[in-house]
Amino acid sequence: MSYTALLFQAVQNVLVLLAAPLLLGWITQCRAWLQNRTGAGVLQPCRNLIKLFHKDAVLAHNASPLFRATPYILFSCMWLAAALVPVLATDLPLSPAVDVIALVGIFALARVFISLAAMDIGTAFGSLGARREMLVGFLAEPALLMVLFTASTISQSTSLITIVETLAHKQFVLYPSMAFAAVAFLMVLLAENARIPVDNPSTHLELTMIHEAMILEYSARHLALVEWASALKLLAYMTIGIALFAPWGIAESGDWGALPLALLLLFSKLLLGGAGLALMETLSAKMRIFRVPEFMGTAFLLAVLGLLTHFLLETTT
C-alpha cells in the first residue's frame, strides 16, 4: 500500500461526500427544466443540509437508542460504499476489503437498519414504510447481486478493481449478457434509490410513499445525515453503473497525469447520467405499489437471464 494510493483514497472520500448532494441537486434541476420550471439550483440540497444541521433535533418520546444511532450507521455505510467504487483510479487501498458481494451486503445492512429505525417509534407510517422498503429490497438485492455476478464471471473476479480494469482495458467486446445486466441494473437503481416509477422522492402523499414514510420521524441533524446518506447511495449506484457499463477513461494505478482527464470524464458521465435519470422520471409515472413486486421480479429475471446468457454463450472453456 503506497502513499499515493492512500492519497487517492482520501481524495475520493472527500470528493464523493461533496459530489453526492450536487448530483442530487443536478437531477432535481434537470427535472425542473424539463417540466418548464425555474428550479432552485444545483446547490439546493447543500443548503437544505446546512439548514437541517442548524436546527434542534426533535425526538419522539419513545425513540430508542437504535433510532438515534441509525443515521450515523447509515451515513457511514453509504460513505464507505461510495468511496469504494473505483471511478477515478483503480488504486484504492480500501477496495480489497470489500468486494462486490460485500458491497451488496453493506447496502443490505443499511436497509435493515433504516427499516428497523422506521419501526422503532411504532407509528402506522413507519412500519408501512419499513415493510415496503424490505419488499423492494428483497427482490432488488438478488437482482443487483446477479448483475454484479455477470460482471464478475466476465472478469473472473469479484473484486471491483479487477472488474473495472478488465472491462475498461479489454478490446471493445459486446457482451450480450451485459445488455441484460444493464437493463436490470437500471431498474434496481430506480427502485433502490426511491425514484419514479417505484417511489417518488418528492412525495409526502401518505399512501404511496416508501422511503419518505420511513424517515418521517427524523428531524434536524439526523434527517440531514439520512438525506446525505441517500444522496451518497444514489451516487454509489451511479458510479457502480459507470464502472460496470462505461468504465473508459479511468486512471491506472499511480498515474497522476491521467487523473484530470479521468475527473473530467467522470463528471461528464455523471452529468449525463443525472440528466438521463431526470428525463426518465419526467416521462414515466409512479406505478401502484402492488405492481412493484412485478417490476422488481422482472429486474431479477433479467439479471438472471444475463448471467445465464454469459454461462451459455460466452464461456469458451
Binding site: S115, M119, G126, R131, F149
Partner: protein, 669 residues
C-alpha cells in the same frame, strides 16, 4: 493440548460424556432446583468448554478408543478424526452458552420436573457427543436413538398440553422413519461382510447402484433429522413446543448431527461420489431454503418463525454439500474444498446464531408469557440488554456484514461464481439459477429478521401486560453473551476459523484452502487468489464504527448537539395507538400475496353488514396435503385391513401360527 497430561483428545471427550451423565444423575437424585440451576448446569457448561477444547485438539490428531461395553464380542468403537472433532467443537462451543442460560432460565421450575429435565438435557448432550464419536454402526445407532428419545422427552416437557404431545409424537415418528433409513443404509454399506465397523465400510467397494442406494437412504434418513423438504413437518411443531434452551439445543446443534451424518456417509464411508447426487442435494437444498424462508416470513409465532428459519439454513447447508459433491465428482478439488469450507462454516455459524435467537425468545417468553408476535412490541425499552444481544443475532442470521452469517454466504457464493467450466452443459445452466435462488433466499432472510426484531422489540407494546416486564438475569445474560461473542468472532476473524476447517476439508476432499486463504495476512480473507476475491471484515467493521462515531463527533462539534423530546409526528395524525402498527401478519402480507400459490391461504372475510367485523387469515403448508395426507390415508387403510386379522380369540391366533409354520416348512422344502 492435552499431551502434557498424557491424554488423547478422545479420552477427554469421553470424560466429558461421563461427566454429563454423572451430572444428570446427580441432579435427578438431588431433586433441588437451587442446586441444579446454581451448580449442575454451570458445571455442564464447564464440561462443554472442555469438550470444545478437546474438539479443537482433535482436529489435528486422530485418536481411537474401544469401549468394552455393549453386546459380547461387539464392543463400541469410537474414533475422533477431524470431522468428528469439528462437530464436537460445535457441540461444545454452542452448548456452553445454552447451559449457562439454562441455569437462569429454569430457576423457577418445580424440583422434580427440573431434576428430570436436567437428566434428559445432559443425556441429550452426551448422546450427541457419542453420535459424533461413533465408529461403528451399532454404536452410532444406539447414540442416535438415545439422542432422539432424550430430545423427545425434552420436547414434551410441558406434556399437560395436548398440542405439545402431538408435536412430540410427530417428531418421534419422523425421527424413527429416518432412523430406519439410516439403519438400512448401514446394512447396505457393510457389503455383506457382517462387519459393521466404519473402518470396514471404508474399505468396502460398492457398485454404483448400491452406492447410490446408500446415498439416497442416508439423504432420506439424515434429511428427516435435519428437516429437509418434505420431511420438515416436525420442526415448526416441535421447536415451539419445547422449552427455549431445548429448542436452541435442537435447532443449533441437533440438526447438525444430520449434516455430520450426510458428510460422514457421502465423503468418508462411500468411496465413490456421483455428480448427480450433488445435483439432487443442491436442488433439494434450494427448495428447502426457499420454502423455509418464505414460510418464516408469514409466521406470527416467534418460535415457529425461527423454526422455519432453521429449515432455510439447513437448506443452505445442503446446497453447500451438493456443490461439494458436484465439484468432488469432477475432481475439482480446490473448488470442492471451498464449497465444503462454506458448508462447515455455515453449520458452525448457524449453531451459534440460531441458539442465540432461540434463547432470546425464551427470555421474552419468560418475561411476557407471550409467543405471539401480535401481542409483543416495544421490548427494547423494557429489556434493553436483551434487545442489544438479540440485535447481533438478528443481523448475523440476516447474513449482513461484518457478522458471521455473511462470511459463510460469501464463501458459498464464491464457490458458485468459480464453477464455470464444469464438463456438463446442463450443470453450467443450473449453477447460475442456483446462485440466483440462493441470493433470493438470503435476501428474504433479511425481510424475515426485520419482521422478527421489529415486531418484538421495536415500536409500542401491543399488549398491556408487557409494560411491567423486567430485563434478563445475570445467567441468561452471560449465556447469550457467549453466543454473541462467538457470532462476532466468527464474523470478524474468518481466516483463523478457516485454518482449522482446512483440517476437515483435507480429510474429506483431500484438499484445503490452506495457504491461499492466508496469503494476505489474517486481515483479508482470500479463498482462492487475492485478485479473484477478498474480504476484510475487521476493516469493514472498523470503518463503519469509526465512521459513525467520527460523524457524530464532527456534527456535534461543528453545529450543536441540542435535542428535544416530543410526541411522534406521523404526518400530524394525532390519535395513534399501538394497534395501528404493523402486526406480524401485516408485515408478512406482501410475501403472502406474492407467494400465495406456494402456500394454502384460508381467509375469512366479514360481510358488509357485520356489526363486529372480523378478518381472519391462516396460512397452511400445502405439502401437508400433498405429501403427508396420502401417506396417512394409506396407513389408516392398511391398518384397518390388518386389524381384521385380529379377533382376540386364542384359537384363531393358534391357527395363524399353524399356517405360518406350514408355509415356512413348504418354503424350506
Amino acid at each position: 493440548m492435552f499431551d502434557q497430561f498424557g491424554l488423547l483428545p478422545i479420552d477427554v471427550a469421553l470424560g466429558v460424556v461421563v461427566a454429563w451423565l454423572v451430572l444428570g444423575i446427580a441432579g435427578l437424585l438431588l431433586q433441588n432446583t437451587r442446586i441444579i440451576t446454581q451448580f449442575i448446569f454451570p458445571a455442564g457448561a464447564l464440561c462443554s468448554l472442555v469438550l470444545a477444547a478437546a474438539g479443537l485438539a482433535g482436529l489435528s490428531e486422530t485418536s481411537v478408543a474401544i469401549l468394552p461395553l455393549g453386546l459380547p464380542d461387539l464392543p463400541f468403537h469410537l474414533r475422533m478424526d477431524a470431522l468428528s472433532s469439528f462437530f464436537l467443537l460445535l457441540l461444545g462451543g454452542a452448548s456452553v452458552g445454552i447451559s449457562l442460560f439454562s441455569a437462569g432460565y429454569f430457576r423457577s421450575m418445580a424440583d422434580d420436573a427440573l431434576a428430570l429435565l436436567s437428566l434428559e438435557y445432559h443425556v441429550f448432550m452426551a448422546a450427541m457427543a457419542l453420535v459424533f464419536m461413533a465408529d461403528d454402526a451399532y454404536m452410532f445407532m444406539v447414540a442416535w436413538e438415545s439422542m432422539a428419545l432424550s430430545s423427545y422427552l425434552l420436547v414434551t416437557t410441558d406434556h399437560e398440553q395436548g398440542e405439545v404431545r402431538r408435536a412430540g409424537f410427530l417428531y418421534l415418528l419422523i425421527a424413527h422413519v429416518g432412523a430406519i433409513a439410516i439403519l438400512m443404509g448401514f446394512g447396505v454399506m457393510q457389503g455383506g461382510q457382517g462387519d459393521y465397523t466404519f473402518d470396514s465400510m471404508r474399505h468396502t467397494h460398492l457398485s454404483t447402484f448400491w452406492a447410490t442406494v446408500t446415498f439416497l437412504l442416508a439423504l432420506f434418513g439424515f434429511g428427516a433429522k435435519a428437516g429437509v423438504l418434505p420431511l420438515h413437518a416436525w420442526l415448526p411443531e416441535a421447536h415451539p413446543a419445547a422449552p427455549s434452551p431445548v429448542s436452541a439445543m435442537m435447532s443449533g446443534i441437533m440438526l447438525k448431527t444430520a449434516v455430520y451424518g450426510i458428510l460422514r456417509v457421502s465423503f468418508d464411508l462411500l468411496d465413490t461420489q456421483l455428480w448427480w447426487w450433488g445435483v439432487l442435494a443442491l436442488t433439494l437444498g434450494l427448495l428447502t431454503a426457499l420454502f423455509g424462508v418464505i414460510f418464516a416470513a408469514v409466521q406470527s409465532d416467534m418460535k415457529r418463525l425461527l423454526a422455519y428459519s432453521s429449515i432455510e439454513n439447513i437448506g443452505i447447508i445442503l446446497v453447500g454439500i451438493g456443490l461439494t459433491l458436484i465439484f468432488h465428482a469432477f475432481h475439482k478439488d480446490a473448488l470442492a474444498a471451498l464449497a465444503l469450507t462454506a458448508t462447515l462454516y455455515h453449520a458452525l455459524n448457524h449453531a451459534f446464531m440460531k441458539s442465540l435467537l432461540f434463547l432470546g425468545t425464551g427470555s421474552v417468553l419468560h418475561a411476557t408469557g407471550e409467543r405471539q408476535l401480535g401481542k409483543l412490541g416495544g421490548l427494547i425499552h423494557k429489556m434493553p440488554k436483551l434487545a442489544l444481544l438479540m440485535l447481533v443475532g438478528t443481523l448475523a442470521i440476516a447474513g449482513l456484514p461484518p457478522l458471521n452469517g455473511f462470511v459463510s454466504e460469501w464463501l458459498l457464493l464464491q464457490a458458485f461464481l468459480l464453477s464455470p467450466g464444469l464438463p456438463q452443459p446442463y450443470l453450467n445452466m443450473l449453477v447460475p439459477l442456483a446462485a440466483a435462488a440462493l441470493a433470493l433466499a438470503a435476501a428474504l432472510a433479511g425481510y424475515v429478521m426485520v419482521k422478527f426484531y421489529g415486531v418484538i422489540f421495536l415500536g409500542q407494546p401491543r399488549d398491556e401486560k408487557i409494560i411491567e416486564v423486567h430485563d434478563i438475569g445475570i445467567w441468561e445474560r452471560i449465556g447469550m453473551l457467549c453466543m454473541v461473542v462467538a457470532c462476532i468472532a466468527l464474523g470478524v476473524f474468518p481466516t483463523f476459523i478457516i485454518l482449522q476447517l482446512d483440517l476437515v476439508t483435507e480429510m474429506l476432499v483431500h484438499h484445503a484452502l490452506g495457504g491461499s486463504a492466508l496469503q494476505h495476512g489474517w486481515l483479508m480473507l482470500t479463498p482462492i487468489q487475492a485478485e479473484r476475491a477478498s474480504y476484510g471484515p475487521l476493516i469493514l467493521l472498523c470503518i463503519i464504527v469509526i465512521g459513525g462515531l467520527a460523524t457524530s463527533l464532527v456534527v456535534k462539534k461543528f453545529y450543536h448537539g441540542r435535542l428535544r423530546r416530543g410526541p411522534a409526528w406521523d404526518c400530524g395524525f394525532p390519535a395513534q395507538t399501538a394497534r395501528m402498527q404493523d402486526t406480524a401478519e401485516g408485515f408478512g402480507q406482501p410475501i403472502r400475496q406474492i407467494f400465495e400459490w406456494f402456500m394454502g391461504v384460508v381467509r375469512q372475510m366479514p360481510t358488509p353488514f357485520d356489526l363486529h367485523p372480523h378478518f381472519h387469515s391462516e396460512t397452511h403448508d400445502l405439502l401437508w396435503n400433498i405429501f403427508y395426507a396420502p401417506i396417512k390415508r394409506v396407513n389408516e387403510m392398511v391398518g384397518s385391513q390388518v386389524g381384521k386379522l385380529q379377533h382376540g380369540r386364542i384359537h384363531v391366533y393358534l391357527l395363524y401360527s399353524f399356517v405360518t409354520l406350514l408355509a415356512l416348512l413348504a418354503f424350506i422344502q
